[in-house]
């Protein structure tokens, strides 16, 4: 069974809101007070997400704050918008506590469902962190650096904006609906509408950043793929499993080994898990796993060549060669590790034990013998291509299994290098005295390893890391090309690199992400998918309400709405220059005014936000947002 991912809860939040606007929207029904209370909960949890992203900036003086990248600016503007929305929803109105019974209003119930999904989603992300010293957060998994990475932060903001926009449509629809069917006082309605207007402003801020640097589809996929930090249970093959089960087993095993190795790298250098027994086991089994990957990639290259997929086949052949080179480097490392020792002989780390599982799962995939093991002996015929891939759609699954294994093999030498370095510094790396030159006179059978021997060993691990990374990259390119599920590993690696974590400190602030957002370096591919703004404006809405269905009239009404939007926005900009901006509640004073302002805000034109924000000097918005939702 696969692990829960952040995408599960994000999707649930979208589903909770019902169909997108314009596609069978719900009729506005329910109590304004109830909806306001539920909206406050949504705004509060959204505020927590954004607080996670912006926490570090509070410590930087406004004057000292450097010019911000569009996404960093959007982040602060989103915080400001949520803070203002929350202020309108709490101003003399309901508190944020959950009522004893479920809401009766349909929209309130939908918003409560969104709150639950977003809260659970945030909890899932938080499983990758633990409180550290001071206000810092300690990483608890290799995914933590991805969670705080700029690409994921951007994707998260884009999702918050999308949800906000949908909520604004529904909330304002209720606030401006005829009083007969919707209980709620005029001030309550004005406050609800004003809160929704700030949600539109939020959306506009994110849109502005999107225009300058769109969120890549791969980054959205990565965000959605972030799993809960709870490993699937360890499994070993029983024998005779079908290929799909073997692929799944290899993927689970690879994920487990990566995590266990990451955990081991956080251990103190005197940890008993850091032993030559563990290092040898990892080197031996990783040599076998990379050999198995070499065989599997060769088989997959043959399968795809036969299916006429020449380019994919070529990529797989190149990856098979790279896996072969990685195997040769692992072999050298295994030989080098045989020449040193530690005093904790016989103690195997969990990562070392399970590295053997990975060799077993990949071996069962690679060889025809369903009972293959590492001690099975010589000469095993490989699995026939038609057995590995019986249908074209099996290729991505098999590639994903090999890709996951190769990613693990690329991470292992890095963590092993760190462990050996740390152990050498505290004198734990030993050699048999008999292997030392006669210059050494040591009255024991073993001695501390000379510096040059440690350096040689570390050089071998650097070589393994490089070769294994090349193999993982080569398989990753194929995984992306054929849309294998493991392709998120490629994006995750890019995201982790963008974060440039300081492993030495082993802690990170969520503000790392924001700091990295200032770096406009990484180019974004443009693939942002936005929901079209097909909500009718006030004139079109009125026409439809009157029963007008003639397309030419509705089109003319929509044109008038757009002209009204432009007119209002242009006029507002003029007012701003004279510092005569009305308050948000004033903009919701009458239903007609509110409908026009809402329509302008929903246009996504960044100038429309000035109606609420007022005249601003450059960068002023970044220094706002002090009210906590």
């Amino acid at each position: 069974m696969s692990r829960a991912t952040f995408g599960d809860f994000l999707q649930a939040a979208h589903d909770g809101l019902g169909p997108p606007s314009g596609a069978g929207s719900y009729a506005p029904r329910g109590s304004v007070e109830e909806v306001s209370r539920s909206l406050l909960r949504v705004v509060t949890v959204m505020g927590r997400y954004v607080q996670d992203m912006t926490a570090g900036l509070d410590g930087i003086g406004r004057r000292a704050r450097p010019p911000l990248h569009p996404w960093a600016r959007a982040c602060l503007q989103v915080r400001e918008a949520l803070s203002n929305a929350a202020w309108f929803l709490t101003d003399g109105g309901p508190n944020r506590r959950w009522p004893p019974s479920p809401a009766a209003s349909p929209l309130a119930r939908r918003l409560d469902a969104v709150t639950v999904s977003l809260t659970t989603g945030r909890d899932l992300l938080q499983t990758h962190f633990a409180p550290g010293a001071g206000s810092s957060w300690e990483h608890r998994s290799e995914w933590a650096v991805v969670v705080t990475s700029p690409p994921v932060t951007r994707a998260l903001l884009a999702e918050i904006a999308l949800l906000s926009r949908r909520i604004a449509h529904q909330g304002a629809g209720l606030a401006l609906s005829p009083p007969a069917g919707v209980p709620g006082s005029a001030p309550e309605r004005r406050r609800l509408n004003a809160a929704c207007q700030w949600l539109w402003v939020l959306d506009t801020s994110v849109r502005a950043a999107q225009q300058q640097e769109p969120v890549a589809a791969a980054d959205r996929d990565l965000m959605a793929a972030i799993p809960v930090n709870d490993l699937p249970p360890r499994r070993v093959p029983g024998g005779g499993e079908p290929v799909a089960v073997l692929c799944e087993g290899a993927i689970t095993s690879a994920e487990r080994v990566r995590h266990l190795a990451w955990v081991a790298a956080q251990d103190a250098p005197w940890s008993p898990g850091m032993s030559t027994g563990s290092l040898r086991q990892v080197a031996r089994t990783s040599t076998v796993t990379s050999h198995n990957c070499h065989i599997l990639l060769g088989t997959l290259a043959a399968c795809t060549a036969r299916a006429g997929q020449a380019q994919i086949s070529e990529g797989l052949s190149a990856a098979a060669d790279a896996a072969g080179r990685a195997r040769d480097r692992w072999l050298r490392a295994a030989c080098a590790i045989g020449q040193i020792t530690t005093e904790t002989e016989g103690h195997l780390s969990p990562a070392a034990i399970e590295a053997g599982d990975l060799a077993l799962w990949t071996g069962r995939l690679a060889y025809a013998d369903p009972q293959w093991t590492l001690v099975s002996g010589p000469a095993h015929p490989g699995r026939p291509p038609e057995s590995l891939v019986s249908r074209p759609e099996d290729v991505p699954m098999a590639v994903a299994a090999v890709h996951q294994a190769c990613e693990t093999l690329a991470q292992l030498p890095q963590t092993e290098w760190e462990q050996i370095s740390a152990a050498a510094q505290v004198g734990r790396i030993l050699v048999p005295t008999s292997t030392l030159s006669s210059d050494y006179d040591v009255p024991r059978p073993f001695a501390r390893a000379p510096h040059d021997r440690v350096e040689q060993l570390l050089a071998e691990y650097r070589g393994v890391a490089q070769a294994s990374r090349q193999a993982a990259t080569a398989v990753g390119e194929v995984a992306v090309a054929i849309q294998a599920s493991s392709r998120v590993l490629v994006t995750a690696r890019q995201a982790a690199r963008a974060s440039q974590p300081t492993r030495a400190s082993k802690t990170a602030d969520h503000a790392d992400a924001l700091a990295a957002l200032r770096d406009p370096g990484a180019a974004r591919e443009s693939a942002a998918v936005r929901e079209p703004d097909d909500t009718p404006g006030p004139i079109e809405h009125t026409l439809r309400g009157l029963g007008v269905s003639r397309p030419d009239l509705l089109t003319r009404g929509a044109e008038l709405d757009r002209a009204g939007q432009r007119f209002l926005i242009d006029a507002t900009v003029g007012i701003n220059r004279q510092h005569k901006r009305p308050s948000a509640v004033m903009l919701s004073k009458t239903t007609a005014t509110a409908a026009l302002v809402n329509n302008a805000l929903a246009s996504g034109d960044s100038r429309a936000a000035a109606m609420l924000r007022g005249p601003q000097r450059p960068q002023q918005a970044e220094s706002e947002a002090e009210r906590e939702p």
Binding site: T276, V288, T341, E345, V375, S438, P445
Partner: protein, 141 residues
């Protein structure tokens, strides 16, 4: 191959716990370069030889920390295996040496007064058996 034969001879001639431990440690050390020199991913014995080499290092380490192992030992054999013979022949010779190793260590263990020596003998005998198991099924013994 000469190293393997010499190691086997020393092991057979060893008398007393310290001498057996010394000969066992030397045997593991001597088989290491011989095995590594012949590990070839293109060979059917690739994984068996790799397993054997890893176990040989583990076996050496098991004996290396035995309290009764003499502190001053003869220099280890050169890193590159200098012997001749095919992979099959080498595998057979090493498997044979390991069978002897396992037997001598198992025989020495009960005579050891120190717990550390007994544990070392048992662990090293186990690694020797694993090498034998990995190579014996793979070679014409």
């Amino acid at each position: 191959m000469n190293e393997i034969a010499a190691a086997a001879a020393r092991l057979q001639q060893a008398i007393g716990l310290a001498a057996i431990l010394d000969a066992a440690c030397g045997a593991f050390e001597d088989m290491l370069p011989v095995l590594w020199d012949r590990i070839d991913p293109g060979e059917p014995l690739f994984i068996a030889m790799l397993t054997a080499a890893t176990c040989a290092a583990d076996g050496r380490d098991a004996v290396l920390f035995a309290p009764s192992l003499p502190p001053h030992r003869r220099p280890a054999a050169p890193q590159a295996g200098s012997g001749q013979g095919s992979v099959d022949v080498v595998a057979g010779a090493v498997a044979g040496l390991c069978m002897l190793l396992a037997a001598r260590l198992a025989e020495a263990a009960p005579s050891a007064a120190d717990h550390g020596d007994r544990a070392a003998c048992h662990a090293a005998a186990r690694y020797a058996s694993q090498i034998h198991e990995a190579l014996a099924g793979a070679s014409p013994l």
